[in-house]
């Protein structure tokens, strides 16, 4: 059973298109995240949702819009794709942060290539 899954795993598209990446977790976690890994392998958080509420938005262009229909799903929609959006996008989930800190479980990543 896959804990955190993402679809698609690979996405090749042209500049200007709109695309979505889907993420689902079956761990019963309340918090989900999107991270971006650039061509130099640097990983940086983009968004975090807790119980379907946005709690982290790391100055990501507003062409990127996350949507959480329920606690188990966090999708990422990207409008007007640009060459610089080419990267690997990772979804992750964890128990709700609080006084305790919980580790995050990552999906397999989606490699987005914009041509």
């Amino acid at each position: 059973d896959t804990a955190v899954s993402q679809t698609p795993k690979y996405l090749v598209t042209q500049m200007g298109n709109d695309k979505s990446i889907k993420c689902e977790q079956n761990l019963g976690h309340d918090t989900m995240y999107w991270y971006k890994q650039d061509s130099k392998k640097f990983l940086k958080i983009m968004f975090s949702y807790n119980n379907k509420e946005l709690i982290i938005n790391e100055t990501v262009p507003n062409r990127f819009s996350p949507k959480s229909p329920d606690k188990a799903h966090l999708n990422l929609h990207i409008n007007s794709l640009e060459l610089g959006d080419s990267a690997v996008y990772f979804c992750a989930s964890s128990r709700s942060p609080g006084h305790h800190i919980y580790e995050q479980y990552f999906g397999p990543g989606t490699r987005l290539t914009v041509t």
């Binding site: 918090t31 995240y33 991270y35 130099k40 392998k41 640097f42 990983l43 940086k44 958080i45 975090s48 709690i55 982290i56 790391e58 690997v88 990772f90 992750a92 964890s94 709700s96 942060p97 609080g98 006084h99 305790h100 800190i101 919980y102 580790e103 995050q104 479980y105 990552f106 397999p108 990543g109 490699r111």
Partner: protein
């Protein structure tokens, strides 16, 4: 601001030998965790080991252990009896609690480890 620094972009080790990967971090927080993640060519992010800042004892997981020096803000990873399957990019990561508001991982730039047969 919290930062994580990995000063070794690439390292190489012979199979069965021991290697240590370095990581330093900067924070004024008291309640935080440190992690090492492994990313093999499959690109899956795999948690290798975690260390709670309030614990003095260094964490160990089979062949993996850490040397956590809180005062020096250092968190190195030692891999003993290196295996070919250990070949991967290794990321040091830091996370802290802001009373429930945030739980974001801050990653270092990674160390690419190659285990040679």
């Amino acid at each position: 601001a919290q930062t994580v620094t990995q000063s070794q972009p690439e390292m190489s080790v012979q199979e069965a030998e021991t290697v240590t990967l370095s990581c330093t971090y900067d924070t004024s927080e008291n309640n935080y965790y440190l992690f090492w993640y492994k990313q093999p060519p499959s690109r899956q992010m795999i948690l290798v080991i975690r260390q709670e800042a309030y614990k003095q004892q260094n964490a160990t997981e089979n062949r993996f252990s850490v040397n956590f020096q809180k005062a020096a803000k250092s968190f190195s990873l030692k891999i003993s009896d290196s295996q070919l399957g250990d070949t991967a990019m290794y990321f040091c990561a830091f996370i802290y609690s802001e009373g429930g508001a945030t739980n974001k991982l801050i990653f270092g730039t990674g160390t690419l480890l190659a285990v040679q047969p």
